[in-house]
Amino acid sequence: MRFFKQLVLAIAALAVVVAYSPQVSAQSGKPIKIGFSMALTGVLGAGGKSALIAMEIWRDDVNKKGGLLGRPVELVYYDDATTPAKVPAIYTKLLNVDKVDLVVSSYGTDVIAPAMPIVMRSGKVFLGLFGLDVNHKFKYDRYFQIMPAGPNPAQDWSRGFFDIAKEKGLKSVAIAGADAEFAQNAVKGARANAKQDGLNIVYDKSFPPSTADFTPILRAIQATNPDIIYFGSYPANSVGIVKAANELGLKAKLVGGGMVGLQFAAIMKNLGPGLNNLVNYDFWVPAKTLKFPGIEEFLKKYQAAAAGKGVDLLGHYLPPWAYAYMQVLGQSVEATKSLDDKKLAEYIHKTTFNTVVGPVKFGKNGEWATSRALMIQFRGIKANNLDQFKMEGTRVVLKPDTVKSGDIMFPYKK
């Protein structure tokens, strides 16, 4: 009996301590579960892992500040292996079995699209990470996508590149793209921009995504003597293109465009000076014009967390956006003081969010209201040096004009 009394007293004392401790009481509720599938393995595995690190940093940051609505945040996720067929079952489990409060997407169009019908039927707000124009078929008014490709993603993506061509008075263009989803959307947009600007398309062909040796393709392009060469390519292709362009001494005035991979630390380090003067898309680079509040602190945390995990060491490409789409969700929950999807969607539609990637405003179709896809130029790159990419000036922002950090070095090769 005496023991029982002591136990009751101890529990009561503990309850008093808990009640008067703001940190603990702030997170004493049931966790808010945010569910998602993530491409942790498969084709986009490396990118997906780096996105997850960023999302975990956001979770820890939020929980340190007392969570959302006074409740701790918990991430519930499964690896979709970049396989679309796995996604419907995962989102059904998240919603029906795990009973998550909020959902966000995996990384990439292929694995975002299969989740859409499931999420739409549950009426959940759905934040997308680097999906290209996924909503054009679904037209879901609670879908919001963080990649800043703009309201007409396929065409807005390369608009800056063709604006540069226009300013320089260039006349002819060669377009080459890999035969796969993103690259084909990219070249489709490039084709539309070229036609809109009245450019003469002298070469327009696709290549298999597995292509690594680009010498024959670049020779064929060179034979048409274009002013501009626009590539839509995947990482392995992009490496092959840059190497072949340097070996052949490719002569064109403006080269680059939609080359995936040239944003990744390992590839930039590997290609080194071969990148100089290429003009390519990017979403964030170290530049005065892109120093948004919180980005440097985030990158420091990311780079510390990424070491030894086999992911991108710089974290300039995908991780800030993975952090930012969670910020959008978190800020919306705090502002509406609710997990109600209708309220959240209305709030996201009308609000400009302050995030580590700058102000984010979504348009009607859930894409950015205006494009902020960057066209950057590699400049003064030295061999075998990763740290140089942390400095300003190695990737100069040419477009859009609102965040421009320097002028173009022109032409690509004399």
Binding site: G45, P84, A89, K93, V97, P114
Partner: protein, 317 residues
């Protein structure tokens, strides 16, 4: 009239499926169940040619994808009912299967296997460059939010897949146990000897490849409606072909129920592993289990049980 246990089993499984659809609230079961049943049809289909007839097909993903893309093309053209799409996809893939059967006139063994793999690559290139079905950028399918007689679209898809699976299993059993099945087995054991004994080898091989094609096409046709977004990369996924081979090998290729056991076992493990450990581990599991069975129990689980039963009988004497 005597009704065999098999047909009673078929009716019971079907009834269980309907009961599950009626009482289960957990939609995840239907998604996971759909994937397992899709694997089951592919395994049964592969076994008709690979197990019964002895012709190894590495191009399963090609047949599956042709089924899926036939459905996409017709859906783009006229939004036909899903059942009609499945039937047409089955016919298209059956005809391609028939064409594959004629390959066996010139190719046997490893050469036939390589030819089926090459055929899948050819089809992938064609689809990748066919803009009408989305080309390399892929195609979207918007599925209805409500369907008659079912609580949800996935519930309907699950029951549909269950019915198709049972039909495929019944066809496979008929092929295996009939006179035709003995003819196929003779081709597997020694095609030249079978030919000499008067077995109509070409006709049987053509039936075998056509049935295999129809079944794989039928498995592929509903796939775009399951994932809602399809591109050549996901439709021609190598894992589809690997699973179609691994499941019968693990279950046992000599009998009709071998691939059923293998598909239910491996498919269920894969679904559980996806939401517990890691999706990528699936591939490792398939690889390790397949190597294990090929090396230690080449006749699969069914063979293991048969050996066990034989030893017990022998011990009892």
């Amino acid at each position: 009239m005597k009704i065999s246990g098999f047909w009673i089993g078929i009716v019971l499984v079907l009834a269980a499926g309907f009961v599950l659809a009626g009482v289960a609230d957990n939609q995840f079961l239907f998604f996971a169940g759909y994937v397992v049943l899709q694997g089951l049809i592919m395994a049964v289909a592969w076994n008709v040619l690979g197990g019964f007839t002895g012709y190894v097909n590495f191009g399963s993903a090609g047949f599956f994808a042709i089924g899926a893309y036939t459905a996409i093309a017709l859906h783009q053209f006229a939004e036909l009912p899903l059942l009609v799409l499945i039937v047409i996809a089955g016919i298209v893939c059956g005809l391609i299967g028939l064409g594959t059967g004629y390959l066996t006139l010139r190719l046997r063994g490893v050469y036939f296997a390589i030819a089926t793999l090459a055929m899948a690559i050819v089809f992938e290139s064609l689809i990748t460059n066919w803009d009408y079905v989305g080309g390399s950028a892929g195609a979207y399918v918007i599925t209805p939010a409500e369907v008659p007689f079912f609580d949800s679209f996935i519930e309907m898809m699950f029951i549909l897949m269950l019915v198709l699976s049972l039909i495929c299993v019944a066809v496979s059993r008929y092929l295996s146990m009939s006179r035709m099945g003995r003819g196929l087995a003779s081709i597997r054991d020694d095609e030249t000897a079978a030919e000499c004994m008067g077995v109509p080898t070409l006709r049987l091989k053509l039936i075998s490849t056509t049935v295999m094609g129809v079944m794989m096409g039928v498995a592929g046709a509903p796939f775009p409606f399951f994932v809602t977004y399809i591109n050549p990369l996901s439709a021609f996924d190598l894992l589809i072909a690997v699973n179609a081979i691994a499941m019968p090998m693990i279950g046992g290729t000599a009998v009709w129920f071998g691939p059923v056991i293998g598909a239910l076992l491996l498919g269920t493990i894969q679904q559980i592993v996806t939401v517990t450990i890691s999706s990528e581990l699936n591939i490792l599991i398939v690889g390790v289990v397949l190597i294990g069975f090929v090396a230690l129990a080449p006749r699969g689980i069914v063979g293991l049980f048969q050996d066990f039963a034989r030893k017990r009988r022998g011990g009892g004497k």
